[in-house]
Every structure is written in C-alpha cells, then in structure tokens.
C-alpha cells in the first residue's frame, strides 16, 4: 500500500512539491495498482473513466485524514489549516498548468461551477450595459450539455445571441474544426455585433475529440473576440495543459476525472489582465470582493477535503514511471490500441484519427444494433451495464441527408491505470454476442 506521510497535514508549508517522478526503479507494481483500486466493483468492466474518474485508496485515506482533522477541532482547522492547505493545492496546480502566478488559480467544485462563474460575469456585462443586446457568444455544437444550459441561463437570458459551431463527426482532421470555427466567428460579427465570449472545449465530451485549442484561441484573438473560455473538463491528466501556450483568458479542468482526486475538485485559471473584469463565486460569503481565488476558498461551511489532497495525489502519480506524462502517454497508446482492436473485431471504424484522441476514443458500433436515437443509446448502455457488466457511454450520431446504412452509434472507451485488456475483450464479446443474437435496440423496453 502507498506510504502516507503526514508532513502536509502538520501545516508544513511545503509549497514546492517535486513534479519529478522517481528515477530509481521502485515504481508502483501492477499488484499495488490493483490494491489501490480494489474498491472498484470487480464485476464491472469499467471503461468509462472519462465520466466520473477514479481515486486510489491512498488518496481516499488522505482525504479521510483531512476530514477527521476538521471534525476534531473545526474552529482551529478553519483558522489555521484550511487556507494554507488550499494555497498549497493551488500552488501545485499553478506549476502543473504553467500559469504565471498562483493568484490566477482558483479551486472550485467542478467545471460546471467554473462555467457558472465565467458566464455570470458575462450576464452582468449585458445587464450593466457593457455589452449590447445581441452581442454574441460562440460555442461548439459539441459543447457539454450542462455548459449549453449555463449559456442559456446566463447569456441568452441576459440578451446575448448564441452561435453554435457545427462540427462533422466522424472527424478527419483539425482543419475541419478550424474552418467551421472561422465561419461561426464571421456570423458572430455580422450586423456590427461584437463577439464577447468564445466557449471552446479542449476535449469534447460526446462525441469525444481533442480540439486544436491553441489555433482556435489564436483565431479568436485575431478576430477581436473579447474573452476566451476553455472548458477543459477532461484535460488535466489526459492531455497537455499549458496556460501560456494555449493563451486563453479562462481555463477550467476537473481534477477528479483524470488526476486521481476524489470527487470533486476543479481549477479555474483566470489570466491576469487589466481588461478582465472581476469574477465572483456565485455562493457569496465573507470573502466577497477579495478576489475569486480567496472567495472560492471559502463558500460557507463545506467539506473541503477533496481540495486539500492534491499533494497526496502528486505523490501517488510520481510512483509511476514518467509521472503524469508517463501515465498520459501509456493511456493514450493503450486506448488507441484497444479502439483499433474493437473497430476491427466489429468491422467498424474510429471516430477520429488517433492523433485527435487523448485517453478516450470513439468507436463505431455495428449498424445492425439499430441505434436510431439518443434514447436508444441510454437503453443500450443500461443493457450493457445490467446484462454484461460493461460500463461504457454511447453516442447517437444523427445520419446526414442521403446517408444509407450509416453507423449511427459510437461508444466512447477510456483507459486509465486500473484498466486491463480483459475489460475491452469483455466489451468486444458483449457486442459480438448481441450482433449474433440479432439484437436491436428496438427490442429493449423504454
């Protein structure tokens, strides 16, 4: 089992935790990894790390130690431990994402909260007449459903005009994305409108592809977009995350998806800039007006332990060869390999080229399964979970005009350190069995 030193619990202001993984060959073993995730349901082929992530036992233990520390003497904890602990986590994140200053890094519950923070200030922009009614906000068609609702709740309600960038799927290259994005910006600027905000996914959820954010941010700057918000819910621990290279104004990512934190913790990066207006956490507390990072560090009494375990998580990650870089690389290579294996076994294809994937990949499901609606995807997913013990999300791709016998159902497989090749074989065999039985989604009850 992982060692769990207490130094960070004693208020030791160790603000520079080494990012460097171990050099000596005492890397974590396969047996230790299995032990770290032994709380996972052993009967489930858990190939959906992308949705809710995973948390190793040693980090759960660290979290429970923080929880008990608080419960032992909460007043003391609040005044003497909490701020320091959060600052330490923020400092680690700042280094991980290559931000200039720890002030630029706030910790929040999840990317959904971060989106609300950014969009709330856009809403005030309209309400306080800084923006004109009809000024635009641009987002991708594949933006996450909850983020689309947040845009509706804040931007549309306040008088903004929302433009969706359509994207083809399957995708062949980044050029397709860039071309559509440019067209959307043109529409945004039509009739003298200003584009006040661009909301760009770094890795879309469903269907899952890695978006060329650097190029898109550059285009936004060239076209005079006021602010750029990158919704990178999956990114940290999954793909490269470099604030200086990407150049966005706001960038958020969950650490409980691919960075081994317990639910839930995310960061919101806000570029230090005189143009950027003051952001506020929607849950207002004592620290209102002291800057977003300070506001977010106290939003009333809560269990902040998920936000305090980042040092323990880094220790866990550094037990792997190559640290987080090594994990990312191996996850990517394996998920591509498994994706290709499944596509071949089913006679289908991948949803995008391997270089547009990170630790997740889309694979077409055999057309004969009859996935003809989003409802069918839920039914099939439930069927796979209940009958075959396979946890995997399914995406419905509406057929284009004139398409005949197209593949309209895609699965999204993930690979994380706890996955085994058997997980993917189990899935392969389940689908093959359904095909051989002549199964169609129409047979499943609603």
């Amino acid at each position: 089992m992982a060692s769990s030193p207490d130094h960070h619990l004693n208020g030791d202001p160790k603000t520079h935790i080494s990012k460097k993984p171990k050099l000596s060959p005492t890397f974590i073993t396969a047996a230790e990894i299995a032990a770290e995730f032994s709380h996972h349901d052993p009967n489930v082929a858990r190939i959906n790390n992308g949705s809710f992530g995973s948390c190793p036992a040693s980090v759960i233990e660290a979290q429970q130690r923080w929880q008990l520390k608080y419960l032992a003497q909460p007043d003391h904890f609040y005044f003497n431990e909490l701020k320091k602990g959060i600052h330490q986590s923020r400092t680690i994140i700042k280094e991980l994402i290559n931000a200039d200053h720890v002030d630029e890094v706030s910790i929040v519950d999840n990317a959904t909260t971060a989106a609300a923070i950014v969009l709330q200030q856009t809403a005030w922009g309209f309400s306080e007449r800084k923006f004109d009614k009809g000024d635009a906000v641009v987002m991708l068609h594949y933006a996450y459903g909850a983020v689309k609702k947040s845009i509706e709740a804040y931007v549309t309600r306040a008088g903004g005009y929302v433009i969706e960038v359509p994207l083809p799927f399957p995708l062949k290259s980044n050029d397709e994305i860039i071309a559509e994005f440019k067209k959307a910006l043109e529409r945004g600027k039509a009739n003298g409108r200003r584009v006040r905000l661009a909301v760009i996914d770094h890795i879309t959820s469903m269907p899952c592809v890695v978006i060329p954010v650097e190029e898109l941010v550059k285009i936004c700057r060239e076209e005079g977009v006021d602010q750029i918000f990158v919704d990178a819910a999956h990114s940290i621990g999954c793909t490269d995350v470099d604030m200086k290279r990407i150049g966005a104004d706001y960038y958020t990512s969950n650490l409980h998806k691919w960075f081994f934190c317990p639910p839930s913790i995310a960061f919101l990066y806000c570029r230090k800039s005189p143009k950027c207006p003051e952001l506020h956490h929607p849950v207002v507390s004592h620290e209102y007006g002291n800057g977003l990072a300070i506001e977010s560090a106290w939003i009333g009494t809560r269990d902040y332990s998920p936000q305090l375990v980042v040092p323990s998580v880094l220790e866990f990650i550094n037990r792997f060869e190559g640290g987080i870089e090594g994990i990312k690389k191996r996850n990517h290579e394996t998920v591509v390999e498994m994706g290709q294996m499944l596509a071949k076994a089913w006679g289908t294809h991948l949803g995008c080229p391997p270089e547009m994937c990170a630790s997740m990949i889309m694979i077409g499901l055999p057309a004969c399964l009859g996935i003809l609606s989003e409802k069918d995807t839920h039914k099939l997913r439930t069927h796979l979970r209940e009958k075959f013990g396979v946890e995997v999300p399914i995406y419905f791709r509406p057929p284009k005009n004139g398409e005949v016998e197209s593949i309209n159902g895609y699965c999204r497989i993930s690979h994380q350190v706890y996955n085994k090749v058997d997980d993917y074989y189990k899935f392969r065999d389940a689908i093959n069995q359904l095909v051989s039985e002549g199964f169609t989604c129409a047979q499943l009850s609603s």
């Binding site: 996972h40 759960i60 032992a72 003497q73 969009l119 306040a158 207002v284 004592h286 009333g300």
Partner: protein
C-alpha cells in the same frame, strides 16, 4: 455553593440519584446505523421509542471520541458536530460512489436525496416534499433567493431603489450576498437596529414595524425581508412568526428566513412560521457532516417565481428540486445521511425535541452560573435563548472593539483551551461602565459541566491578573478570521 454541588451531581453522578436528568443508563442498543438498501427506507421521523434502549453517556462519549481532547468545546454553533456513527454512514456512501459511480449517480443518488428531503419535510412540517430542496449550506440557499431578485431588477419587475429589509445583526456573509445581488442590481437596503441586551420580543417587533412603516411612508417598495430565526452574534431567538406576519400585513413581497442554526436548536414549523423561503443548516445542530442544508420554498411562491441554482447543469429549467439534486460531479454523501442521523437522534429520549429541550435548559443553567460567577448578565431572557446564550464578560477585561473580541477569543483558545466566541457590543450613549464584551456559550450533547467551569475559571483568572485587551499585541492580519463567523 449548594447550586454548585447540585450541578456537579447533575453531570457526574449516575442518573439513579437524579431522576430528572436527561440520559438514562441503558443496555447498549444494537447499532444499525445505515441502510444502504434503498428499499427499506426510513422516511418518517420515528415517534415511538423504547425506554430501555436509550443511548448511554459512555456511548455518547464514544460517538464524539474524535473530538480533540482537552478542549472545552463550547462553540457548537459555528461548525456543529457529527457523531461517529454518522461519519461511518458518510464513508459508506462515499465508497459506494467510488465503487461504481455511473450506477450510483443514475440509480442511487436520486432515491437517496428524495429520502433525505422527506426526512427534512417531516422535521420542519412542510406540506409537500416538493417544497424542500437540499443544498450545501445556507450561503448557497441565500444566493439562490437573492439571484432571482437580481434578475427581477434587470428584467424590470422591480424598480431601482426598491428595498430589502433586514436587521443590523444579519450575518455578514448574507449582507455580502445582498450587496452582490440585490444592491448591485439597483436595490436599496434597510437595516433595522435594536438594543442589546434584548429584553423582550415586543421591542424587536416594534423596531421592525417602525422601520418598515417609515420606509413605506416615504414611498419605498419593500420587495424582500431577510430575517434570522436564531441570530448569530449576538445570539438570541427572533420572534419570526410575528415578524413574518407583519411583513405580510405591510405588503412585503417575499420573506426569507435565514435559519442557519434553527433545526435541532429551536422549534421549526413551516405551517406556523409561514415564510416564503426558509433555509437552515443541518450540520450545526442536527448532527450532519459538513455540509448539508435545506431551502424550503412555499408552493404558492414557486408558481410565479423563477428560482435557479447558480451552478447550472443538465436539469436547468426542471424546477429547483431537480436542479439542486445535481450540480455537476460532486460527493453528495453529506446529503444522503439524513436517515442515519434520524436513527442517531432517536436513540435519545424524546428524540430531536428531547435533545433540544435539554440543550436549552443546560445552556441557560450554565449561562446563569457564569453570569453569577462574573457578576454580569445574560444577553436576553431565557425564553429568547436557543441552545446558545450570550453571557456578559466583566467590564474590566476591556473588550472595546471587534479586534479586542478576536484577541480574547484567541487567548482563551491558546492559553486556556477554551473554544468560545466573543462578541463586542457597542455601548449605548450615556451608559456608564457598560458591559461591552459577551461570550456566546453553546450546549450540545457532548458537553460537560467542566467545560463551562473551565471558561468560568479562565475569565476569573484573567480578572484577578488585571488582564485588559488593550495589553494584548495586535495579531497578524492572517490570524484574524471573519469577525462575524457563525
């Protein structure tokens, strides 16, 4: 002296000598703290109790054995407490989530939240479980209510200058929320003063009525009233029922009761209080882990108001209950332990009500003991106390500012291992040698008589030593937390 002997007996001598005491010796009950199987749910507050199996004093101590030893923890009001059996239930829920999160979020979470909401609905005597949403804490609930008022200004339903009315002692974070939403959108704030120590409900009610009528008299529309049920600092119980009635009579459109402390501390009845919105924390006095709270919204209000959780997710537009049931990936286990908490509470004689009554009696007794020992006074009549009471500190200690109060708090904590909040009260004009410093003592089931003796003796020692807050060094700014912490 006789009183001291009696109090010693009450808290230390086995109960068979003092039949009026709260907790009876009993055989340990079988512990079954948490039902993870959602099919056999405990959705009703149990009223039937077996006299022979009430929790014992040893069991209580064991439930709170994780509390730091050697501290007189008489500040339950700020952060509450959580018994070991509920923590165990919490961890069980967490592990369930981590084991198979997709299945958990889809199939377990909605049922679990509904169970908890049903427990709360019964506790607060709401008519319909659809009136009860679960949120993280009162700060979140307040943001929800205030956000819709901000939109009302922006969308022209309210006019610039329309007002919110509140008491001066309204919690600092709530005042900030009013600033961030109501005032920012164009509203105006009315603060109602009152004298402290308070002497009666009538004086509070009169101050409120006077302020309200005066503002209405100059043509101000009062759109919202924010009223504490149990104030934070200084702490006493507000006559909420009467205040809500006055609001309705005077045409205040919406009434929000900030009842951060109320559940587990005072009687909470939605049908009696009749506010439009009522929010309370459950981790302060109702043994929940941090953090879980509820927001009650009267049905009649929900039909014409557009309330939303500020963290917008998939269920946006499907009603506040659904929206609050999913605010993105989170650890919702604090929301799910209400049934386990009910099991815990029902191990006590009289259940939640029994606990409340005994806490109240004990804290009043301790308050009087301290006031007598120090030659001071209580901050309000006993009937206006909950499980907390303000006790005047000897004037010679020189608590002459909020900063002094913080200094004294820190000294009591570090030198005497007493955790208790100190309040600075502005003296009234012309008052001679007034008492300007008050402690807020709390009583919860884990407290012991010696906790209050330690405070008593600490203050007496400071008095003997000729201590004065003016002598203490200024603390470093980062050591000074919010002055108005709950």
């Amino acid at each position: 002296m006789a009183e001291k002997i009696i109090m010693f007996f009450r808290y230390y001598v086995p109960r068979f000598l003092c039949p009026n005491l709260s907790f009876r010796i009993s055989r340990p009950s079988n512990r079954h703290y948490h039902k993870l199987n959602h099919n056999d749910t405990q959705t009703q507050v149990s009223v039937k109790q077996k006299p022979s199996s009430f929790i014992t004093d040893t069991e209580i101590q064991s439930e709170f054995s994780h509390h730091a030893p050697g501290i007189a923890r008489i500040n339950n009001g700020s952060f509450g407490c959580c018994p070991a059996s509920v923590i165990s239930s919490l961890h069980q829920w967490q592990l369930k989530l981590l084991r198979q999160p997709d299945d958990f979020y889809l199939n377990e979470l909605p049922n679990g939240i509904l169970e908890s909401r049903t427990v709360i609905k019964d506790l607060i005597n709401a008519d319909d479980v659809e009136e009860v949403s679960i949120v993280d804490n009162v700060s979140t609930a307040v943001a929800i209510v205030l956000k819709q008022t901000a939109w009302s200004f922006v969308e022209g339903k309210f006019d610039k200058g329309d007002a919110v009315i509140m008491f001066r002692c309204t919690y600092g974070a709530v005042k900030n929320s009013i600033k961030a939403y109501f005032l920012r959108a164009g509203g105006y704030a009315i603060e109602v003063p009152f004298n402290f120590p308070v002497t009666s409900n009538e004086e509070i009610v009169n101050e409120f009525k006077t302020a309200l009528r005066r503002e209405k008299g100059i043509g101000r529309r009062v759109r919202l009233a924010v009223i504490d049920h149990v104030t934070c600092m200084p702490s006493f119980v507000m006559p909420v029922k009467e205040l809500v009635k006055i609001c309705k009579e005077e045409g205040v459109e919406q009434v929000l009761v900030d009842a951060a402390h109320a559940v587990g501390c005072v009687d909470v009845d939605m049908n009696e209080i009749r506010a439009d919105f009522y929010t309370g924390n459950l981790y302060k006095w109702f043994f929940c882990p941090p953090a879980v709270a509820f927001l009650y919204c009267r049905k009649s209000v929900m039909t014409h108001l557009d309330l939303h959780h500020p963290v917008v997710s998939h269920d946006y537009g499907n009603g506040l209950v659904k929206e609050t049931g999913w605010v993105g990936t989170r650890d919702y286990s604090p929301y799910l332990v209400l049934p386990s908490v009910m099991e815990f509470v029902n191990r006590f004689e009289g259940g939640a009500e029994g606990i409340r009554n005994r806490n109240h009696d004990a804290v009043v007794e301790m308050g009087k003991m301290l006031a007598e020992a120090w030659g001071t006074n209580l901050g309000c009549p006993p009937e206006m106390c909950s499980s907390m009471v303000m006790v005047g500190l000897p004037a010679c200690l020189g608590v002459l500012s909020d900063e002094d109060a913080m200094k004294l708090w820190e000294l009591l904590c570090k030198k005497f291992s007493v955790e208790v909040k100190i309040h600075y009260q502005n003296p009234k004009d012309g008052e001679l040698a007034p008492i300007t410093g008050y402690v807020r003592i709390c009583h919860q089931i884990y407290n012991k008589f010696e906790d209050y003796c330690r405070l008593r003796d600490a203050i007496n020692q400071l008095v003997r030593d000729g201590f004065n807050c003016g002598n203490l060094e200024i603390m470093r700014p980062e050591e000074v937390g919010p002055t108005n912490d709950r």
